[in-house]
Symmetry: D2
Subunit: 415 residues, 4 copies
């Protein structure tokens, strides 16, 4: 079976090289290859599987919906499933948090959500320039790629990427420079050469960039800066939303209210393509149909997405367990940091990372873990961070098992 | 139920305004609203439902796959479902046609496929400029939007769209100008000011642009022109592929072999998000991971997509019935054209259109059809064309029913 | 003396390669090299020397001004010389023609004038896109280069040139296509993909592009098209203004009134750097200082420029003699066209050209003429046209001499 | 006389508003209005009149050249005057300093020189992006404007300015941040989102930006940074070259050798339009004619420029007197700074500035000085700096006179 990937798939394929097996089944925190061998999945579809693989609570709803011939594909037609999803969003997320957002379904994946947000921000302000951050990752389509930092991925555009200026992310200079000193100064100085920005787009915790966390205070200051200068604030919560850091939205702990929020990955509940752009009502100046797309209405994802919201976000249990499990992981990361100089514990909630001074070590640890039956991705500009992102539904036993494999793998690599 | 769409969804929503009901179930050529009222669907998810709603041949496979906990979300990991899909593609599409393409899964929707093709064309050639055609539609993300003609949608970008030059589509000047006269002359003249193009991107039949067909001869000449000038030819078969015009690929009748082909919409079989970029092997110069995305591996769509290929493309039956049904529709369109001056029959296969001299008439006919229980979209720069795109699996009876409703609707509007 | 050019000047040098002598003195239609050898100059500084080299009528004024320590360099300060120039412009050019333009001094050379016009057009309309024409030449700075056709010169930019779309110049298709068919159709069609243009920039007779003339009717239709669509019309009269085609402005015969006019080259009278942008008062929306530059006030050029206007444009004598001499040149060109198949007579007034079917012949004729003591440039995308542009003050005897050398040179090359 | 400026000149006019008189004659450090009133000129054509108005040592050469009908206008033809200028450049500037540069004449004004340098840097490196500095000023044509900081002037472009990223100039953060911390970090980090730069363009002392000086150490570090990262270093010495800061090149004191140097303003000696781009031989990869322009060969400016080089740069006298006079000016500035809190002495050589905490004070001082018979410009993003730039040939008495008028004007404004 492996042959067909090498012979038929484009050279662009990537994870099938990292984990050279053919996966067949999956359940909870486990992936199984075609020979039935299980792998503990601490990658979770890069954040698309926060509720685990083929979550039984959602599976029944999904099959029932398909069985009863519920609308499967629906563009942006009104359907019962779409309506249910909007209701669930209202009741479990927006109302309890006192948030008021209009919902756009911009297409089925995170980059669609980012593109819609950037377009709308430019339309609202009449400005073109966007401020992004060092090591940001927002997607591969041209608009999103312009605000993405990775030079290899930027190079793939084949044209000069413009209209975006990177600013230093929190702690980019290890505390040597005051927060926003540069940004504020450029904004205040009419001779700075900085094009007036339409919006700032930010991840509150950078996943692909290397599990770089930002402080609540930094986010609050960023939010205030934006308000002071009439700049829209877009939080890209595609990877860090849906409870990855504990609370549903990754920005909740900072107490800010972004002008727009991009959601995707786990929002569909079951790993199916779905994306949302949340827009403050006063900014919802779209013309009907000004942005469209074929797969805006992936109705089975509405069904599982709504059920996930009701199952997991009607109370604080998931949030609390995520925080607790995150602390458990962090403990091991700190121990490894104490054991091996140059190792750094990074992250928040269940978005954790182990940074290595020698970048190639991270890849070796990932490989060692795979040899031990565990899926771990690397991240960061030099792939120098091992990313630890189990499903939020991971059991305590699985967490223990995972951190032990990680510890073994690190020891093996340093042995 | 309708309230939640008005109160919670963004103003950008569109089809839920055109058809102000809440759809609940669907089967074959029929959509049913929440009160159980049926609508004959001659829109078919804008080409995403070529095999009909909730096709029973595919449904069982889908449910079985979900029941057995097959991998649901898989990034670009190798999975059995992905492998099966590639095999099916090979056996039913590529080998029988003597085609050799590498397959990229660029993300789940058509615009991802177009973005990947444009990026790759620029990388291969080291040029930036793309030639698109008048009234082209290729998607809403920034790269795809640059090659899309519609001025309202272009305006949504909020920044000047560059690196693309529109050329006249086939018959744009009603035969007054020789094909490619302008394009050839600009290419031949080193003083013309035309930036040397990396690629031409073309739909062989423009759907959103108003069901504008191109002749096989025109496509062949375009292909030869591209070859002569070292320009890559990209066919966007997102809407017109998967048998919409009769053969699987819309360019088969012209006998050309594009350098890249964009597929999406019905490629997943069941209306689920999936997209492919087919690339001639010599052009597959991607670095691993140079283009990525969360939902490249929508595994249930691989399952239904593979089954659809095997069920419908192992022989010529679907192609032949599509052509026959298309002729049946065309007959009524011609009759209407004879009955009402200014009405024009357009299209090929089951991508048909009825053009109106007074643009607003098309919208009125669409509304009249809806009142009569039928879903019909409009298209064209002024929404002046009624688009007739039933599922390819539509029955002969349904075709009869559909053309009669259309005829009644036209008559009612002109009464 | 020649060594220093090869050793010290950049490889970009050009005319010093074409005419490999060192010029020392000049008078009227004659250039003299350092050994005193005279060359009949039918190039005239590419149109910067319409009143001949070191014109005696202007020379005295210039020396007097320098002798009396008149302000030499004046930024955009008010000076008597600047005032005199504006008065002369008013009295000799604007008032007699019933034209009302505000005058901007945008910097000392043609490209500054074009850049100012493009900036202002974009500011006025809020649009970015400019329509230029095939084989246009407007200058080497980035804005002007974007609307210039020549691919080698465009390539020199090192970045993709955007925001401009080339349209076919008059007779680009040898009468096969109706004028403006393409342009009008793209403008009328909201799905064409043409960005709405801020302005059209046009030379009424393309010099660098190969002495391509446009018909008065074509210009009038262009002007009407612009008015109908709210597009500003900019005439670049840098090379063809100042009487080169007969009347002072090259567009006079068409009876149009452009929104902006770019002037430079001979406007300073004596070959000194000076440029103007004429702007219809209603379009003069510049903020003070929004466009500036060090050499906007080249005062000696104001002195000679004003004197040239008074000497040559207070009556119709120069215009009439230019037209007559132009006809005399054209007679020989037609005779050559009759004598040698493939030779074409081109141009108007004293902007004349002899086109060759085999491009390299033009360069050979230029070289043969130089061997016979005459300066002739080539033009056109393949340098396939010999450009005949003597000073307008050339004597009848010199014209006879010039056309005979040209005839001899052509015969020598074809012998 | 003043009427014609208001009625006929564009609203863009600027200095004729600041100094509402009509100047007629000029000599040395003095401008005279049409009524014979003298004004001490401490502005010197924004650096174009370093050798004073109508310098007698140059005037005779200029008149002789015109009298003898030396070639006046010469495109880029070889002429004796051009050759003499190149020789003088060699003998007085390049050889004594051990510098080896090829000379390009890119057009007559500073912005032509900058455009040529940027084009060439992009051609050499195959990269598009340029690093500029906060408060940089490089010119008004589109390429130069992209690297210029001033937001009002940038806004004049009417299109988004791209391909340039501003970095903090020396001391931008008042010593709070290490030099180049930000720049180095972004370059070192492949995930930073900074497009790899083709070149850095820098003024060693920013004139229009507000007389902001940079330290020799900062420049050396910048030069080393560029070398380390394969980035070309362009010094824009248009305003600060030609001895303005003491030595001929403003970067001499730092001991660096830029890859390219832009010169204009005083390089022609007499205030006539002339510009040069100096290019290290290994970077001179232009094709013949790849960049051109009508006024590349302003021959009278070659004559006065060559004579200025021989008269003033054959020994160190001018450099030494400039430094001495600069110190004299600085003394008064420091005294004023001591007298009035918030006043800051800025600059180097005879490029001096007096900065005000309340920006509007600078304009008031300029006006008060004008009322007292002295010309002083303001600079800086808020026009908060009074610029003191007399001709370098200013006498000691005139310096005394000038600083006294300045002192009086400051006192009057604060009274």
């Amino acid at each position: 079976m492996k042959d067909v990937f090498a012979t038929r798939e484009s050279e662009v394929r990537s994870y099938s090289r990292t984990w050279p097996v053919v996966f067949d089944k999956a359940q909870g925190s486990w992936l199984y290859d075609e020979h039935g061998k299980g792998y503990l999945d601490f990658f979770a579809g890069a954040g698309a599987l926060n509720y685990g693989h083929n979550n039984p609570l959602l599976k029944r709803k999904l099959i029932d919906y398909i069985e009863r011939d519920g609308v499967h594909h629906g563009l942006d037609q009104a359907t019962s499933a779409r309506g249910e999803f909007l209701h669930a969003l209202d009741e479990t997320l927006l109302e309890p948090r006192g948030l008021n957002y209009k919902v756009q379904f911009p297409g089925p994946t995170g980059t669609n959500s980012v593109e819609a947000a950037l377009k709308l921000a430019r339309k609202i302000t009449g400005r073109e320039s966007i401020i992004s951050f060092t090591n940001a990752f927002h997607g591969m389509t041209l608009g999103s790629l312009s605000v993405t930092g990775n030079s290899m991925k930027r190079g793939g555009a084949g044209i000069p990427l413009v209209h975006a200026t990177p600013m230093p992310y929190d702690n980019y200079f290890d505390g040597q420079v005051d927060d926003f000193l540069y940004f504020e100064r450029l904004l205040a100085d009419s001779g700075s050469g900085l094009n007036a920005p339409a919006a700032v787009i930010v991840e509150t915790l950078q996943g692909e960039g290397g599990i770089n966390d930002s402080r609540a205070e930094w986010l609050r200051n960023l939010s205030e800066l934006c308000e002071r200068h009439g700049i829209l604030l877009i939080v890209d919560d595609v990877q860090m939303g849906c409870g990855r850091t504990g609370p549903f939205f990754s920005f909740e702990q900072a107490g800010i209210e972004p002008d727009m929020v991009c959601l995707s990955k786990s929002i569909g509940g079951y790993g199916s393509p779905l994306a949302l752009t949340l827009i403050k009502p006063e900014h919802d100046v779209w013309e009907p149909g000004e942005h469209n797309g074929t797969f805006r209405g992936n109705n089975p994802a509405f069904v599982t997405g709504a059920e996930a919201l009701r199952q997991y976000w009607s109370d604080d249990a998931l949030r609390d367990s995520t925080l607790a499990k995150g602390e458990r992981v962090a403990r091991t990361l700190h121990e490894l940091g104490a054991e091996y100089p140059g190792l750094v514990s990074k992250g928040r909630g269940l978005a954790r990372g182990l940074g290595f001074a020698e970048p190639e070590m991270a890849g070796k640890v990932s490989k060692a873990a795979f040899d031990r039956g565990m899926i771990l991705e690397t991240a960061g500009p030099q792939d120098e961070v091992v990313k630890i992102m189990p499903p939020l539904t991971v059991t305590d036993e699985e967490v223990e098992q995972g951190v032990e494999i990680l510890r073994d793998s690190v020891r093996a690599v340093f042995a």
